[in-house]
Symmetry: C2
Amino acid sequence: MARHLIAVDWGTSNARAWLLDGKATPIAQSTSNKGMNRICKSEYNRTLASMVGSWLSDSVSRNIIACGMLGAANGWVEAKYRTVPCEPVLPLQCTSVVTSLENCVVYIIPGIKQYRPTADVMRGEETQIAGFLAGKPQFNGVMCLPGTHTKWVHISAGEIVSFRSFMTGELYDLLSSRSILRHSVASGEHLTEDFLEAASDQLSQPEKLAARLFALRAESLIAGLDAPRAGARLAGYLIGAELAASRPYWLGHRIAIVGAPRLAKLYSQALSLVGQEPIKAEAEQCTILGLAQAHAQSLT
Amino acid sequence: MARHLIAVDWGTSNARAWLLDGKATPIAQSTSNKGMNRICKSEYNRTLASMVGSWLSDSVSRNIIACGMLGAANGWVEAKYRTVPCEPVLPLQCTSVVTSLENCVVYIIPGIKQYRPTADVMRGEETQIAGFLAGKPQFNGVMCLPGTHTKWVHISAGEIVSFRSFMTGELYDLLSSRSILRHSVASGEHLTEDFLEAASDQLSQPEKLAARLFALRAESLIAGLDAPRAGARLAGYLIGAELAASRPYWLGHRIAIVGAPRLAKLYSQALSLVGQEPIKAEAEQCTILGLAQAHAQSLT
């Protein structure tokens, strides 16, 4: 009887795989930079084999559970979106792909879409949400999943009611590495005071965003603004802008942040400006739990 | 006696040179992709020679007038900023560079800086402003110079009183060509209705910007939004955000837009949403006039 399983999170830029024991504890992990954006359909098989092939043994389930962009239309095989309101993951609705790897079948968890009030989509976050709710099945409120495209998600009675995506992470990356601000901005150091002052300015005058960005460049040129402080302010402006735009999500709700520790800390600090004290959970753990749970419910 | 002159606008990405007759009419023009970002200090001489060398004759002034990023600290030779409030161009304050080209000296018009109320800088726009004011010396009001980094400039009694820069053009380029939106957005077609609706939404709820961008991607994925319409809406959101942030500049003032025709039209249409009817002038013409005037006042 197979007691170990393989779980995969295949994102836009990278892929991660875990070998999990029966308690969803990672025994081994592998990563690849062959994210969806970097490979074509014919390369998934080979990439998967290089990531998990050495883990296969009699005690490992041949049903591999996966989430993320490999299920996009231009991923490996499309796993069609489910529509809100819905449970984050319904394991029996996975799309299966037969692989070239010793009897292995990959089951892809579908993403979720929303038509109203605004069109929106997610792929991968639904699995994190399921993993979070596995540990807190009674949670009602709003989840914030910060990342390249941060999601704010209304959860009620175990279902995703509505959600909204923000390009905050991608905007930060583009502005700090590709725009004129790249000469003036450094990331890495966490300067809480500058970050919070910028976020607060942005929350109180959200219409000023467009005016604040170039000022970082000008201040670095003629007023001695150093790059770590400029970076902290850029993060503050962008996260402040996101909070101004996501107000219907966080106002009067209980909030859970599911993210990488550094990002979760930034969002938590910014939310403290509006009187929120979110709980936090680690994103990778939630992903693993969500994948393991989907596997347990349908593929063991 | 020299009756012709050479004028150069050396920008971040490109350089343009004109051979002008005594009435500032271009007789010849040359361009180069060796903008400031693409060459080191030692390459300016050679690049200039390739652009204008063939124009030199007895009737051409050896005093070459230039504006733009060649005067930045990491350009050819630094032409130190002047500080507002000030006339846009004071020809006698140019910084000169002796070239390797038959007795030619390049005179670089300095940029302008501002410390209060917000740090800001310009290089090149001061020459366009001078060119515009050469034709309208009585203009009092606000000039809008749309581009990669759009400038809004308070003009009073022939002086620049204050100004503010917006990264709207650069944001549009990054989002439409480097972000996830690149799959969903096409530029080029001018869809006035979509553009104006987006600009109007943004002006009435400026705090929503961060929420609107990803929706363009989602709508294209699941709701059939086509790429030209998404592009028009992206431009509308970003220009709307700029107008929301630049309100103190355009509210209650007479406005002149100095820009490339396509951009000037977009800004003019967006400004009509707030009851403004700006006058328009063509950017290149203003640059040429500003350069010719600076030459006439000091270098003939």
